[in-house]
């Protein structure tokens, strides 16, 4: 029985090995090579790629640390804003009326639009020549705004796109949590004379805290991997102001430079960073997520 059950999971094991373990091992292997696909073959260089990326004395490291900082800052900022905004909107929508239900249905719209198409739409929205944003601002006398070519405008512009696209996901997760809350506790609190802010602070938020953590983990990991927006809206510019790690990996591995070994090194470091961050979050809040002792 035990042997047959092991045999039955073999296809899954093979699939997982082929789809995850083998690519990871190959990625590690590539990171140990100096390999430019444009020519010259590959050469084993050991950890030299990692030294080139991480060493403060290396000419390539400032660009890597710049990308790392931009990635963490952007990912952390938009995630935090989306959580706050998402919670506020979810609280407003957790009602039993027609408007709330219609609004809940419309939340799905940004999520079902193809991300690349959505970014293209925003690129034209931000266009100083064609975009309606420019026109609307001109009605208020605001002329000559450059949304994507100047610092810090580019950060706000990218954040707005990300908020528009992914806040609904956070809302839906938190809304699900809010609607699943048992009414008795809230009714009891109301009977005891608790104000709305007290109910929110001492009852609602602690009760849906697992959902907040789930939304945090989902969004943070996804926000750190931001690529489409950078590729379509800014190409890493102006300067290297939006040169995130994902874009940097793409540029070096699949752009015209074709430096596969260097790109693999960046990919591996990026993967390790995301794994560490998500693991820390999961371990820190695992008891809460799994319904353990609540934190208040």
């Amino acid at each position: 029985m035990r042997r047959s059950s092991s045999f039955l999971i073999l296809p899954v094991v093979i699939y997982l090995t082929a789809m995850t373990i083998f690519p990871m091992v190959y990625l590690v292997y590539l990171s140990l090579l100096d390999w430019n696909l444009l020519g010259g073959g590959s050469q084993f260089v050991g950890l030299q790629n990692f030294i080139d990326v991480l060493s403060p004395n290396s000419p390539d490291s400032p660009a890597f640390y710049n990308s790392l900082w931009i990635t963490l800052a952007f990912g952390g900022s938009v995630t935090l804003i989306e959580l706050v905004l998402g919670l506020a909107i979810a609280l407003l929508l957790a009602r039993e009326n027609l408007i709330a239900k219609l609004a809940q249905g419309m939340l799905v719209v940004p999520l079902v639009i193809t991300p690349v198409l959505l970014d293209m739409i925003w690129k034209y929205l931000y266009s100083p020549l064609l975009g309606p944003i420019t026109y609307l601002l001109s009605l208020f006398g605001i002329i000559g705004m450059d949304y994507l070519s100047t610092i810090p405008n580019v950060y706000f512009s990218l954040a707005i796109v990300d908020l528009w696209q992914w806040t609904p996901l956070v809302i839906l997760i938190l809304l699900g949590g809010l609607l699943s809350l048992p009414r008795q506790q809230f009714e009891a609190a109301e009977l005891d004379g608790a104000t709305r802010s007290q109910i929110l602070r001492y009852l609602t938020i602690p009760t849906i805290f697992p959902f907040i953590i789930i939304a945090l983990i989902f969004r943070l990991v996804d926000a750190l991997k931001v690529f489409n927006k950078i590729y379509i809206l800014t190409a890493g510019g102006p300067g290297d102001a939006t040169d995130t790690l994902s874009y940097r990996i793409f540029h070096h591995s699949l752009g015209f430079t074709q430096e596969v070994g260097y790109g693999a090194t960046l990919s591996l470091l990026f993967f390790l960073m995301v794994v560490v961050i998500s693991t820390v979050l999961v371990l820190s809040f695992s008891r809460i997520i799994l319904g353990g002792k609540e934190k208040t």
Partner: protein
């Protein structure tokens, strides 16, 4: 008391809610029918709305799109002779060859000509068309595997990838094939600098796609600017005077942090009488001339809409819609800016780029080559030599392609009469000389001849975009680029002490 009465009200509310939410309460037949009716009405409205939208879009007249088959019949109808002025071997009939092509304007022309080639030779041509970076990625994988899946491969990045591919042994030398091609192919008819740019150690390794080479002139609105700018200062002045956002901006060009801003910066550098390297391949990025060039670019970019996120295509669209007074862009866009649907038809002037009047202008093109691992090299050369033949060169130019590599096409009186603009701009390139000749060089010479050319472009582009964004001063940015470029030239062995 107030609290109690409030509590009582809430208690009653809870009781009434409990009654409603009691699990023992059944839904009545009337409620079920009402609910189903509501759902049905909603679904019906949705279906009607969707059907109406579909009917609206289906009834709109289709856009007129030039199809490959339309272009084929047009091109084939212009054929006047079946003389074989390209490499032809009857024994190759029945062969099928594959071209990995970039999604660029030249490719539809080549696809339209393929049936004519098949008709004449019996060789089938299959195209795999991909975006440029995908072509590079796919070709890289094919070369690494020594695959013969592709017989011909485009060299994106205006041929910049072809040189490292050739040096690495991935491309077939074309000189032996040229030597066995009939004299009617007229190698001497080709503008000299074209094969020179695509040669290494005496071997030609690539040709421009369809024989086209592209210029990067200066376009201006004749209704706003009476005379074209002669100097960069003029251009900046005109940009400032005509900059009235959001209705119109003073200038536009490709400014994205990639090859487009590099090409734009070329013009400003050449206007200072400089190029990227001297004759010993010492970078010139930290010279006072380079600094002035970058400062001028920064100054004029203030009058460009979203310069650092504008591609060359975007710039052409901006100008075509009448939203900019000046443009620095590829000559191939002239057909667009003066074409049907343009808002500035009849108002477009062009000239050599300000400050570059007496110097060679930029020459760049996509290239194509033969895969070293192909098993059908002769058939591949037959198709390539067909596309580059004098006859096809004339046909394509006559159809308005806008550029050529053949002197006979430039000197053809019919072309001078029918396409005087293209002829004039092409003639600017006749005196162009490649790197190392002592004359100011053209950008196209950098890409094929410098190993890790795109690394060099990255260094320059980083300096440009960093300065434009205000992250570093122009001098600091250029100094950093100079150090990196010098190290690169030493690494690739071109730096002469």
């Amino acid at each position: 008391m107030k609290k109690d009465s409030e509590g009582n009200r809430r208690l009653k509310k809870i009781e009434s809610n409990e009654e409603v939410s009691s699990p023992s309460k059944k839904v009545s037949r009337r409620q079920a029918i009402t609910s189903m009716t509501k759902v049905g009405i909603g679904a019906g409205i949705a279906v009607i709305a969707a059907g109406g939208a579909a009917a609206y879009f289906a009834s709109r007249p289709p856009e007129v799109v030039s199809t490959t088959s339309t272009l084929t019949s047009t091109l084939m109808s212009t054929l006047t002779t079946s003389e074989k002025d390209y490499y032809y071997d009857p024994s190759l009939s029945g062969t099928t060859i594959t071209r990995l092509a970039a999604n660029v304007p030249e490719t539809p022309f080549a696809q339209a000509l393929a049936p004519l080639f098949t008709q004449e030779t019996g060789i089938e041509v299959k195209f795999i068309v991909e975006p440029e970076d995908t072509v590079v990625a796919k070709a890289g994988v094919a070369f690494a595997a020594q695959s013969s899946d592709y017989d011909m491969i485009d060299g994106p990045g205006f041929g910049g990838v072809a040189f490292p591919w050739f040096v690495s042994g991935y491309l077939e030398p074309l000189t032996p094939y040229i030597q066995k091609t009939p004299s009617a192919w007229k190698y001497d008819d080709i503008i000299a600098v074209v094969p020179q740019l695509q040669s290494y150690m005496g071997n030609v390794f690539a040709f421009p796609s369809l024989g086209g080479i592209v210029n990067y002139p200066y376009f201006y609105r004749k209704d706003l600017i009476p005379q074209p700018a002669k100097t960069i200062s003029d251009m900046i002045s005109y940009a400032s005077n005509n900059n009235k956002p959001p209705s119109i901006y003073g200038w536009t060009s490709g400014g994205t942090p990639d090859i487009y801003s590099f090409f734009t910066f070329d013009m400003f550098l050449w206007a200072e009488g400089l190029d990227y390297f001297d004759a010993n391949f010492h970078p010139q990025l930290n010279t006072s001339g380079a600094l002035d060039a970058l400062k001028n670019l920064i100054e004029v970019s203030k009058y460009a809409p979203a310069f650092t996120t504008t591609t060359a295509d975007d710039a052409a669209n901006n100008f075509t819609q009448g939203r900019t007074a000046q443009m620095t862009d590829f000559w191939t866009w002239y057909k667009l800016v003066e074409g049907k649907g343009s808002a500035v038809t009849g108002k477009v002037g062009y000239a050599p780029h300000p400050g570059v009047v007496s110097q060679p202008h930029m020459m760049a093109s996509e290239t194509f080559s033969i895969n070293k691992f192909s098993k059908k090299k002769d058939a591949a050369w037959s198709f390539l030599s067909f596309l580059l033949s004098p006859r096809v060169g004339q046909i394509v130019f006559g159809q308005g392609y806008g550029s050529t590599m053949r002197k006979s096409v430039l000197n053809n009186p019919v072309n001078k009469e029918q396409h005087p603009d293209d002829i004039e701009v092409m003639n600017w390139l006749l005196d162009a000389k490649p790197a190392g000749s002592g004359a100011p060089v053209v950008a196209g010479s950098i890409l094929p001849h410098i190993p890790k050319g795109f690394d060099f472009i990255d260094m320059v582009v980083t300096a440009i975009s960093g300065s434009l964004a205000g992250k570093s001063s122009p001098q600091d940015a250029l100094n950093a680029a100079q150090d990196k470029a010098t190290a690169l030239m030493k690494e690739v062995g071109l730096y002469k002490p």
